[in-house]
C-alpha cells in the first residue's frame, strides 16, 4: 500500500486546488494566509497578484464568466476578507461559480476580536451559496472538493472557505476525495416526460412564439441547442442583458435585448406574443417593468435549474425545473419544423420602424454610442467585451453585435461599478486566443483603476476604453428625467477645469499605453490601433455629456410607456 504523506494544511490546500482543476489563482497576501502563500512555490497553477482584494474577486469572476470554469481567489482575514464582499455579491447575483478562500485567525482566537478577525462566514452569508469555516487541517481537501461542487452544481455561485491559520499549519494525511458526497445537496432536477410533451405541444401550436433567454442559458451551455430550436421552429429570440451572446445577433431571428433599455422590437414581441419560452431568466424588474402588464397575451413556459425561480416574479403556464440544455435538446426532437411568416413579418416591420438609434447632439462632439460602434467595427463581434456599470454598459449592450456566449461580461444583478477592468483581466487570462476590451465609465474606471498595473505586468494586451462623459451618467440621466434636472453630486468634471484625473497620464503611470480621442474623425483609427496593440492600452474617449440611453421604459412602467428620446 502506498504510504500517505503527511503535510501541512496549507500544502494540502494547494494540492486540493490543483486536483479541483485550478489553472489560475487570483489573490493578495496577509498574515492569516502567509502559510498558504509559502506553499504556492510548488503550485502547478498560475498565481496572479491583484492590487486590491475587490479587484482579485472580479478577476476570478471574469475568468469564470468567460471560461465557464470556477474562478478561484485567495485573500487574508479581516480587511482582506471584507474587501471581497462586493465581488462575492456580484458573482452571487449573476450565478458565477467561484471559490473564495479567506484566511482566518487561529481557531482558539475566534470570537475574541483578535487582530484582523472578521466573522467571514457571517458576513458572507447573504452573498454566497455557502460558506465553510474549516475546523481542522484534516477537513481541507474534502472541503475544497465540496466547495467546487457547490459552486458549479445547481445555479452556480460563489462559495467561501474560511481557513483558520492554525489549520493551515497543522499536519494532515487527509486526501482529496474521489467523489463528493453532500448529504443534503442534490440540485440536479430532470424534466418529466409529460412536461416535455406539453412543452412541445405548446411550441407546435403557438402562432406568435418568442424565446426569451437569460444568463442561465449561457451558464448551462445551452446556446447551441437554443439556436437549433429557434431555427427549426422559426422562433424569434430575445435575450436579457445577461443572456446577450446566447443567440447570434446576426441571425435574422434575433430580436436583441429586452427590458428597460432593450430593443423596441424585443419588447413589442414579448408584449404581443402568445407563447414565451423563458430559459434561465429571473423575470427581473429591469426586464418586466410593471409586472401586472407584462406579456398579458402569452402563455409562459419557464425553464430554470433553480426551483426557487419558477413562479417567483411571474405566474407561469408551464414551469420546468431542470437543466436548460437538457430540456431544449429534448424538446428539439419533438418539435415540428415550422414557419411563422406573419409573425416574423410583423417583427421585421418593428425592427425597421423602431431601430435602436441616436442623433448627434452637438456637431464635432463624439456621441458615446459612436464610440461603441467604432469598437464593434474593429472587433467584429468576436472580442470579449467587458463592461462597467452605467450608461456605457447599456450602450455596449445595445451597440455591440453579440454573437457568441461568454463574450459579453457585465455585472447585471448587482450592477457593480469597478467590475470592468479587473473582470477583463480575468477574461484575458482565461481566453488568450481572443481580444478583450473593457468598456468603462469615467466614474467606474476610478473604482478599480489600480488593477491596470496587473494587466501590464501579466502582459495582457487588453484594451480599456473609458467613455468619459464627465459625469456619473446613468444617475445624471435619472436626475434629468425624473428629478427635475437637479444634478445633485453627479458631475465629476468641474466647469473650467481639466478633467481629473488625467486618464492618459494615469494609464501611463500604470505602465500602459494610452490615447485620448476628442475628434470624431480619429475615433475608428485610434480604436483600431489600440485593439490591435500587443500591450495593455487605454483609450479615453471624450463624449457628449448630455447623451442619454434610449429607448427606455421607466422603472415600474409598461411597454406602452417606452420613451425614445
Amino acid at each position: 500500500m502506498k504510504t500517505i504523506r503527511e503535510r501541512t494544511g496549507a500544502v494540502a490546500l494547494v494540492e486540493a486546488l490543483e486536483k479541483a482543476g485550478t489553472e489560475v489563482l487570483f489573490g493578495y497576501p496577509g498574515g492569516a494566509v502567509i502559510d498558504i502563500f509559502d506553499s504556492l512555490k510548488d503550485a502547478k497553477f498560475r498565481f496572479v497578484l491583484g492590487r486590491h482584494e475587490q479587484g482579485c474577486a472580479h478577476m476570478a469572476d471574469g475568468y469564470a464568466r468567460s471560461s465557464g470554469k470556477v474562478g478561484v481567489c485567495l485573500v487574508t482575514s479581516g480587511p482582506g476578507a471584507t474587501n471581497v464582499v462586493t465581488g462575492l455579491g456580484t458573482a452571487y447575483l449573476d450565478g458565477v461559480p467561484m471559490v473564495m478562500i479567506t484566511g482566518q485567525v487561529p481557531l482558539a482566537q475566534i470570537g475574541t476580536d483578535a487582530f484582523q478577525e472578521a466573522d467571514m462566514s457571517g458576513i458572507s452569508r447573504a452573498v454566497t451559496k455557502h460558506s465553510f469555516l474549516v475546523q481542522s487541517a484534516d477537513e481541507i481537501p474534502e472541503t475544497v472538493a465540496q466547495a467546487f461542487y457547490i459552486a458549479t452544481h445547481g445555479k452556480p455561485g460563489p462559495v467561501v472557505i474560511d481557513i483558520p491559520k492554525n489549520c493551515q499549519q497543522a499536519l494532515t494525511k487527509a486526501q482529496y476525495p474521489e467523489r463528493v458526497n453532500l448529504r443534503a445537496y442534490h440540485p440536479e432536477y430532470t424534466a418529466r416526460p409529460q412536461q416535455i410533451a406539453r412543452f412541445a405541444k405548446l411550441l407546435n401550436e403557438a402562432k406568435r412564439p418568442v424565446i426569451y433567454a437569460g444568463g442561465g442559458a449561457i451558464a448551462a451551455f445551452a446556446s447551441g441547442d437554443l439556436t437549433a430550436l429557434a431555427r427549426k421552429a422559426q422562433i424569434p429570440v430575445a435575450t436579457t442583458l445577461m443572456g446577450l451572446g446566447a443567440f447570434d445577433q446576426r441571425d435574422p431571428l434575433s430580436l436583441g435585448m429586452a427590458g428597460m433599455h432593450g430593443a423596441p422590437c424585443a419588447n413589442y414581441a414579448i408584449d404581443e406574443a402568445d407563447l414565451i419560452v423563458a430559459m434561465g431568466v429571473r423575470f427581473s424588474d429591469r426586464v418586466t417593468g410593471k409586472i401586472s402588464k407584462y406579456a398579458k397575451k402569452a402563455k409562459i413556459v419557464h425553464i430554470d435549474c433553480n426551483p426557487a425561480e419558477v413562479d417567483k416574479n411571474v405566474t407561469v403556464h408551464l414551469g420546468i425545473v431542470a437543466d436548460v440544455r437538457d430540456v431544449i435538446a429534448n424538446v428539439n426532437s419533438r418539435v415540428k419544423a415550422n414557419e411563422h411568416p406573419e409573425w416574423l413579418a410583423r417583427i421585421a416591420q418593428w425592427k425597421q420602424d423602431y431601430p435602436i438609434s441616436y442623433q448627434p447632439l452637438h456637431p464635432g462632439v463624439i456621441m458615446p454610442q459612436q464610440a461603441i460602434e467604432a469598437i464593434n467595427k474593429v472587433s467584429d463581434g468576436e472580442a470579449i467585451v467587458v463592461t462597467d456599470v452605467g450608461q456605457q454598459q447599456m450602450w455596449a449592450a445595445q451597440y455591440v453585435t453579440h454573437r457568441h456566449p461568454r463574450r459579453f461580461l457585465t455585472s447585471g444583478g448587482m450592477g457593480t461599478m469597478g467590475f470592468g477592468i479587473p473582470a477583463a483581466i480575468g477574461a484575458a487570462l482565461a481566453r488568450p486566443d481572443l481580444k478583450t476590451i473593457a468598456i468603462c465609465g469615467d466614474g467606474g474606471a476610478q473604482m478599480t483603476f489600480e488593477e491596470v498595473v496587473v494587466a501590464v505586468l501579466e502582459k495582457l494586451p487588453i484594451t480599456i476604453v473609458v467613455i468619459n462623459n464627465g459625469c456619473l451618467g446613468m444617475v445624471r440621466q435619472w436626475q434629468e428625467l425624473f428629478y427635475k434636472k437637479n444634478y445633485s453630486h453627479t458631475i465629476l468634471k468641474e466647469k473650467g477645469l481639466p478633467y481629473l484625473p488625467d486618464f492618459v497620464k494615469l494609464a501611463k503611470a500604470h505602465g500602459a499605453a494610452a490615447y485620448r480621442v476628442i475628434d470624431p474623425a480619429k475615433l475608428e483609427s485610434t480604436m483600431k490601433k489600440a485593439i490591435n496593440a500587443k500591450r495593455t492600452t487605454l483609450v479615453e474617449v471624450i463624449v457628449d455629456p448630455d447623451a442619454n440611453v434610449y429607448p427606455m421604459i421607466p422603472g415600474g412602467k409598461s411597454v406602452k410607456e417606452m420613451i425614445f428620446k
Binding site: G122, K129, H130, R183, A184
Partner: protein
C-alpha cells in the same frame, strides 16, 4: 398585506452555522420570527428547526424553496397556522 403566520419544519444537518444560515434567510427579508424551536431528531446528525413567521404567504412559500436550496437543509415543510389579526 395579506399576512399569516406560517410554520416551517426544517430538517437540517446538525452542523455549526446551519441555524444562522436558515434564520438569516428569513430575517434578511425583514420578517420577524415569532417562535423558534431547535432540537435533535432520533438521527443525531439531523436537527429539526420549527419556525413560526408572520409574513406574506406567497413570499413565505418562496422562502421554503430557497431554504431547500441551502447546502445543509435536508427538507422543509411549511403550512399556514392562522391569519394575523
Amino acid at each position: 398585506m395579506n399576512e399569516t403566520i406560517q410554520r416551517f419544519d426544517c430538517f437540517v444537518e446538525n452542523k455549526p452555522g446551519v441555524l444562522a444560515r436558515v434564520i438569516g434567510l428569513i430575517s434578511g427579508r425583514g420578517y420577524n420570527i415569532q417562535a423558534l424551536n431547535v432540537g435533535p431528531t432520533e438521527d443525531g446528525t439531523v436537527s429539526r428547526m420549527r419556525i413560526d413567521v408572520l409574513g406574506n404567504e406567497k413570499v413565505l412559500n418562496q422562502v421554503i424553496l430557497q431554504l431547500r436550496n441551502q447546502v445543509n437543509v435536508i427538507e422543509v415543510t411549511g403550512r399556514k397556522r392562522r391569519s394575523a389579526r
